[in-house]
Amino acid sequence: MSAVIHLQDIHKTYHTGSVDVHAVRGVSAEIQKGEFVAIMGASGSGKSTLMNIIGCLDRATKGQYLLDGTDVSRLNRDALADIRNQKIGFIFQGFNLLSRTSALENVELPMLYSKSHLGGREQKARANKALELVGLGQRADHHPNQLSGGQQQRVAIARALVNEPALLLADEPTGNLDSQTSIEIMGVFQKLNETGITIVMVTHELDIARYTKRNLIMRDGRIVSDTAVVQRLNAETELKLLRDAQQAVQLTV
């Protein structure tokens, strides 16, 4: 197994006015191919900053970061943009879909910026395939405002997948969703992970983290705990339990 993410003594310092904020203070970690990792921590623990660095949206002040074997710590803006396009799929808390643009076109978007120029038909085919993978094949021509939160997040996942990245990065992917939809989304992640896709997500919800395989806990810019998940939850079983419980409630009422 090869490491998808290799972090070596990563530091990040922000200069805000006269005060220097040391957000990440020496993080070293390795995430292998096929892993499903949750990064947890209170707000201000540096997990978002670390996430931005892993996502190549930001550069570390100090340290080395190898993504899929490439040293990305010293790349320029354009090179980072290409890395984001080719190797990383982003999923955000607020979905971040383009409004007034159909689900299919949203999913096609990363291919618009990729260097390998695909034909229009092939782009459409790939986008449709990605939508089917997240169970939204029927709603390709719907606009985001015609979709529920869970469905919007599935479109976002399809968009993240379409360029076949080495890594899926999810920043609080269930933060805007109710508990049942959250479990459904975790189910999508678990299924994708089973096909061999590496997933790293940031969350502050402990029960969501239990659907992953490994938990990193951050505090004050350092990783303080790195444990494998022991009693891993399965989204399908949990959903079934939840439905049964709801039915029971309806029967008693």
Partner: protein, 406 residues
Amino acid sequence: MRRLLATLKIAGRALRRNKLRTLLTMLGMIIGVGAVIAMVGIGNGAKSQIEAQIASMGQNVVLVFSGSFTRGGTRSGWGGAGTLTIEDAEAIQRELPGVTAVSPEIRTRAQIAAGNQNWNTSIQGESPEYFDIRQWPVIEGSAFTAQDVKSANKVAVIGKTIADQLFPGEDSIGQIIRVKNVPFIVLGMLTPKGLSVQGQDQDDLIIVPYTSAMKRVQRVTTLGSIIVQAAKPSLLSPVQQQIIELLRQNHKITPGKDDDFTVRNQQEIAEMATAQSKTMTLLLAAIAMVSLVVGGIGIMNIMLVSVTERTREIGIRMAIGARGRDILLQFLIEAITLSVIGGILGIASGFGVSKLIAAKTTWPTLVPSEWVICAFFVSAAVGIFFGFYPARKASQLDPIDALRYE
């Protein structure tokens, strides 16, 4: 190429999203470009009309006017002093080798009558060469001859307007017209010319032998002016110079004294006429330029608003791999689309306005195609120039900040 097409599509969608705003932004360009095209149309129409008028003076013409600008501190108008004589005209014809034709001229206005109709018109005394010099042939009947000039015969050639006014529905040839109670026989009618640039009816005149005009109508012994035709364009200036020398000698003007006549050649007259219309065109073009700049600033303003509004979209695009250049291109293309569509609509409306002006007034308009192409590229350039700053601003956004923007 596909990428460019996709970017165009994105730009189109962004512009359609806010139709009223798009239209108002374009309005600046529409007015600017429309003004340029309309102005150029009017300017060019006037220019071609003036050129036609200068050409209708005849080829290689030198005009000699009686009366100088200044004499003893008092200024008299051209032809006012009455210093030119028939002898002067004959001397020019006889002594200057570069001269092919001469027509002594005398002009006045008078009330004319025929039967129970009467009309006020311009009476011109000329020689038979006048019709050749002016390239203005008689279309019906015939012109008068050198013999008519010699005997000061009471014969006339009339313009179309005179025929219409005095002899409605009749053949005018052979009819009698009384000019200041002197009866003239109509020999012929001139080819109709229509209106001049200034809106004057060029067919509203009577031409009689200059001797008849002097003796029988005006009762004077001097000429108003002399029309001289040179053999070729290169002789215009030499002939002009020779005329001045000859007339100074004949009028016994001692060196150091002012001329009592004025000589103008066709080129000078053409230059004077076009200089006027050039100044006008330049002024209008300057106004049009200002409105183009204002239109461009409007585009810049809206693009800046658009960049701010869509900061989050820019963040999303950057997060999924758009380079700064992609963002720059997207907004630049949006600005260019705005300005070019505005420009095209402006060209169309400019054409419309110039056609309307041509229809409602007597000014002919003419929009040359190179100006249309020029207007198109200028509007594209306005889009690039005024769209660049907002687009660059968008492309330099930090992806993290842009994503967090609410």
